[in-house]
Each structure stands twice: as C-alpha cells, then as structure tokens.
C-alpha cells in the first residue's frame, strides 16, 4: 500500500503489491471495495482521486510514463510522460482540479493544469510512420534525431521500449489492434502516435 486519497466518507488506497485501487469507509477505514485495476502499471506510489469524474491519478517509478489516470473499468484514460515530471511520488488534486505532484529528483512540487494551456517543458517532434494502418511491421522515422520509443496497447500496458537513431522498426507478434507510440528525443521533446495494426 503506497497511495492514499480521501473524498467524502471514503479513503482511496493504492496497493502496490496488487496493482489495484480500493476504497474504504471513513473514519474507521472499514468495508473494502474495488475501484479499479491498474492495467499495465507497476511500482506505484501515491494516488489522487478525482471525485468529479470518478478517476484516479497514480504516480509510479516507471521510467517512461510516471503518471497514469484510470477509470473504474481498469482503463488508462490519460497520462503524463516523464518529460514533464522526471520522478513523481506524491500526488494531490485541489478543488480547482489542478494536480499537484512532487518530484524527488528536482525536489520540487509542481502544480499541473490538466485541461488547458501550452506545455512548458515539452514540444512536438516530427515523427513519420511508414504506414497507418500497418500490417506486420511498421517503421517510424525521426530525421536527424536520436530518440526513444515506448509502445502501449489499448489497455495502457507497456509493450516495448527502445532507443534508436533516426529510424526504428517494430516487427512484433502482438495482436492486431490500436497502439500508442510515445517518442521522445534526446532533448526531451516528445510526440505521440496512434497506430493501428491490422
């Protein structure tokens, strides 16, 4: 158990060992109920519960995506890459909907606008896939750049991560479906591709 968040008569608890979010009745912390399963995430830390949308934000020691947001259907519906927060641990949501995150590498606490604004610390890079949809293999190109790539399936599970120079080919036995590619260059700029394997 590494994460806590309270709302009304409930406390939400993030179980690192079970990869699950439970909630209990306050003040005595009784009557456990399931909230969600953190599909594709591990080494989780603190959590922040969004009562308005019934979502939970979860920090992790994951080296590519440090924060994910899950709904009650075990589905990742949002995320924050490590290019914005390097090593997230503590998490809280304030009444205005801002997410507060502690970063133990920078010894800072960040207030994040989840809904609006222009990114301060990341920018898009040009990434070109060989085809979309693709059959069998796909090649992504980042002309003139060294970059890293992380691929997630539609459940938010990390399928593969790799580093490459200008071109990277994914020749995977993964089943047909939708995959999210997060590509980050060595300057920290990143972009996301939504590719379909048929």
């Amino acid at each position: 158990m590494t994460g806590l968040s309270a709302s009304g008569n409930y406390v939400f608890l993030g179980s690192r060992n079970q990869n699950r979010i439970y909630y209990y009745t306050l003040p005595n912390i009784t009557t456990r109920k399931d909230f969600t399963y953190m599909m594709g995430f591990s080494t989780t830390c603190d959590i922040a519960f969004n009562a308005t949308d019934s979502l939970v934000w979860v920090a992790s020691e994951n080296t590519s995506i440090c924060i994910k947001c899950y709904d009650t259907n075990n589905t990742m519906v949002d995320y924050i890459p490590n290019t914005m927060i390097a090593n997230a641990r503590g998490m809280a949501l304030d009444p205005g909907g801002y997410l507060w995150v502690s970063d133990i590498d920078a010894d800072k606490i960040y207030k994040i606008d989840l809904t609006e604004g222009i990114e301060e610390q990341t920018q898009d890079i040009t990434v070109t896939p060989s085809s979309n949809p693709f059959c069998g293999a796909v090649t992504i190109q980042t002309p003139g750049l060294n970059a890293s790539v992380v691929v997630f399936d539609m459940h938010g599970r990390q399928i593969v991560s790799d580093s490459f120079q200008e071109s990277w080919t994914w020749n995977s036995s993964s089943p047909a479906g939708h995959y999210v590619f997060v590509i980050t260059d060595d300057q920290g700029a990143s972009t996301t591709l939504d590719l379909v394997k048929i």
Binding site: M1, G8, N17, M91, A92, D107, E119
Partner: protein
Amino acid sequence: MRKILFLLFVIAAAASAKAIVATLDAPDTNISGLAWGDGSLWAMDAVTDSVYKLNPETGAVISSFYFTHPVTTVPTGLAYSETHNMVLCGGWYNTNGYVYKYTPEGSYIGFVDMCGG
C-alpha cells in the same frame, strides 16, 4: 472500433495539453505523499518522517508534525479528510500497508493494518 479510436485520440490530445503552471520548492528531499485540505497543500517526507502544511501560493511551511511509525515502515501516500478532519499517513513495508490517523494539528489518533490491501 470508433469508440476505441476516439478514446485513444482523447488520450493523446489530453496528454499534449497539460502544463506546469506553478512550481514550489519542496520542504524536504523525499516527498512521497501529497494531499489537499483546509485550503492548504500537505506534504509528507519518506526519510525525515515529517508532515508539512504548506501555503500553496508560496510553498512556505505553515506548520509541521512528525509521523511516528515503526522503523521498517516507509512513509508513502498522504490524504486529508475534510469530512472527518483528519490527516491519513500511509506506511508501507514489503507486503504490508498501514494507515496512521492524525488530527491536522499532529495529534495521533490511531492506525489501521491494511493487511497489504
């Protein structure tokens, strides 16, 4: 199929729109829990076992107290219950989890063994 495509589009669009709008100096070097309550930001440190009440505009420490727990337990996860006016401090040790309850002034109320839960 369309629903899946729409969901992925929303995920990608939302992720690219986020922005850091304020940055505070952390009151300690291993902040492992944050919470919001009583109009303040609360932070807990995993090494010094301190719980801080912070001014969210400046990061200044308004008050603090020590989170007392067994030596083997690592402080991680913090919550503030506005409804019950208590601070909940998480303690994690291997497969076991504990929730320690304090008043906002730092008086110990009790703890609950979560049996790993």
